[in-house]
Subunit: 460 residues, 2 copies
Amino acid sequence: MHKILVAIATFGLTSAAFAQADTTMMREIYRQSLTKGEAYDDLRYLTKEIGHRIAGSDRAEKAVKWSESLMKTLPFDRVYLQDVTVPYWDRGAPEKAIIKENQDTLQVLALGGSVGTPKGGLEAEVLEIEYLSELQNHGEDVQGKIVFVNKPWDESLVETGTAYGLNTAQRSRGPAAVAKFGGVAYLFRSLSSSTRDDFPHTGGTRYVEGIDSIPAMAISVVSAERLHSALQHNPKAKVYLEQHSGWKGPVQTHNVIAEWRGTEKPDEIITIGGHIDSWDVGEGAHDNGTGTMGTLDAIRTLMKLGYKPKHTIRLVFYMNEENGVHGSTRYGELAAQNKEKIIAAIESDAGGFAPRGFDIKASRASVDWIQATWKPLFEQQYWVSRFLEGSPGVDSGIWAEQFPNTVMFNFRPDPHRYFDLHHTAKDVFEAVDRRELQSGVAAIASLLYLIDSQIDQLPK
Amino acid sequence: MHKILVAIATFGLTSAAFAQADTTMMREIYRQSLTKGEAYDDLRYLTKEIGHRIAGSDRAEKAVKWSESLMKTLPFDRVYLQDVTVPYWDRGAPEKAIIKENQDTLQVLALGGSVGTPKGGLEAEVLEIEYLSELQNHGEDVQGKIVFVNKPWDESLVETGTAYGLNTAQRSRGPAAVAKFGGVAYLFRSLSSSTRDDFPHTGGTRYVEGIDSIPAMAISVVSAERLHSALQHNPKAKVYLEQHSGWKGPVQTHNVIAEWRGTEKPDEIITIGGHIDSWDVGEGAHDNGTGTMGTLDAIRTLMKLGYKPKHTIRLVFYMNEENGVHGSTRYGELAAQNKEKIIAAIESDAGGFAPRGFDIKASRASVDWIQATWKPLFEQQYWVSRFLEGSPGVDSGIWAEQFPNTVMFNFRPDPHRYFDLHHTAKDVFEAVDRRELQSGVAAIASLLYLIDSQIDQLPK
């Protein structure tokens, strides 16, 4: 009995001493990031001097080279590029969509991966539906028509990511489904959380082998409402469409990688990062300039504080998350081939709004342990309180299958405003708040510190 | 033993049934607020059609009358005005502050309550300090000088309210302290969380009887840095100041009150609201248009859902929080005089950003109970997770002393951006996001529902 009490007392003290050290370290991390952090300034360069950067484009390669040089200014042990071959898709000249009878110009953007219209554009009647599943009810009626999927966003969800997910399949599968029924083009109501939004939101789509490709466009919410009204008034109204997009063949580009060697277990790796490519509109500020510049700055924060990692911390800027995920696929292939031991991953690809927490892919016991041990360090003082079991990010998710035991964290900033500007011309530097961004950097740096110093304590 | 098990089973079932009903009700509240809420539209009217509204001004009275008519459109049982006498302070013609030697114009705003400069303005050398406590070291040197308190904001705190509180006493006590040492004017570095901010932030100040009043101004952060540089270059540099502000005597104005009568315990009252006045710059959007329009819309949300309150819900728009708190003082006096039983209060006066939770003034046991029982209803699905012991809002705090047993909730939206625009010309309608505001309305409506339906279960 006496021995047990002593053991408890000792454990209690050790625990308290650990917690005290963590509290002190986190205070220093937050002070450094909020007062001297450089993510915001780096983001300004990425967005204003380079701009949007779709995989395969010259700008994407400029972003790669600039990222590499930026990493080389920091005391990483190794900075290198990892070859990735991507299919380059180019939008071409601006799209057009006009309701013929009143010459009303609709706001549209080609969906990524879409083919162009035939030379001279195309003009056709429009079939408006909410769900692709309605196509079969219309049967032969679909032939020769532009199919317009006008499904409104579910505004009732605070978790806008869920609302987005409810309808992404209709974006990606639409063109093939419509082509199968003989439709000539696809118009898709933008996935926007704002009902007053006249910006089209682009995004990926895909075709199915053996079915002819047809042109596919996103139409803004406000324009979708106008087209709906026009069709109510005249169901035979015709729309003229013109777009010049298409695949331009494979291009060799790169993931950008930097390693900070572990002092105790250099062969055990913590991967942290996000995708460096963006869609080809706006400036890719929240998607995903904040994720790349933020994770880099999280590491820089620890470096500036003189921290020495136990494990190797590897920063990865993935190429081509937006239209192919070839970068993270390649990363996973090589890591598996080299039998690397990746013990944990942090991904940031949900914007640079006020930090709320992390979704965690780990055993139930590990998530419980993190909630009990790490969450209290964040929640009261730093307003970060969401540590829930959930999905890794898209890029980590790609290679998660080969690394089932890697504990994965997906950074979650506030979700309210992200899908107002996601994949649009509105996603620019000015939409990012410095304090919110640097608060997120501090949260990520704190988590990175906790993983590196305490991951061995996680229940198996 | 058998009886105990049955009791536990019954209690368990009842509990679960309650939780199920709460979950359903909250889903309806969120759906109503996010898809059909009207706080944002009401806010547009208040900010764009009425604008800023300092207590005692014609616009404040216009806001009172419009609020009264708005409340009368809803099925309240009683809508009335409560007389409040306020001292009306008027800014007069725009202020001027110019560094004489280079004619550099500084961005300034008179602090609320300040006297004007003598006719023709004043010109004097400047004594720059960080803390008022330094005045005694300077002794007679202060005489005839403009004292410039140039204390930077503590950027390292995520809780910006704490950073604000660190320095408000220097704003309010500065003029009296400086006058006591023979200083001729007071220049105070604005309480802004942004380091790149050229907008002055006004706010209240006060004098002490028996000491001559001197003019007091807030200077923008960027201008404060420029003045600091000028003084580094030439410590004898003079500054010219001109302002035309002053007290214009007492004005009778009003609190605006609406009551929704309880069906079971009409004599037990839940007070909810915030202040309707604002500073006399910008549009008083986040401070406190969102608090008044938001709490009104929270009640409207319950009304639209057909809810019948057990207790009387009383909406109060307090007058004069910003420069005197005469409205809430009067509210407390009358409530005490009438021996009212106010069981709970909700205040909203911290902006309309994404909702994070509520600070709670209640017994430790009650706070624990709320964390265990109500917090789980909010945190995962609605991203509202902060239910901590804390201060009530300023207005509730005024009458809390007379009502020590009232459980008080202070709505806490995200704190990152609030003090970028607080008390400035930047606090306009465009700075409010509809989704964030309506998400907060839903959180407040949900709390109001939980208080009304379950307050009897709170530990004593």
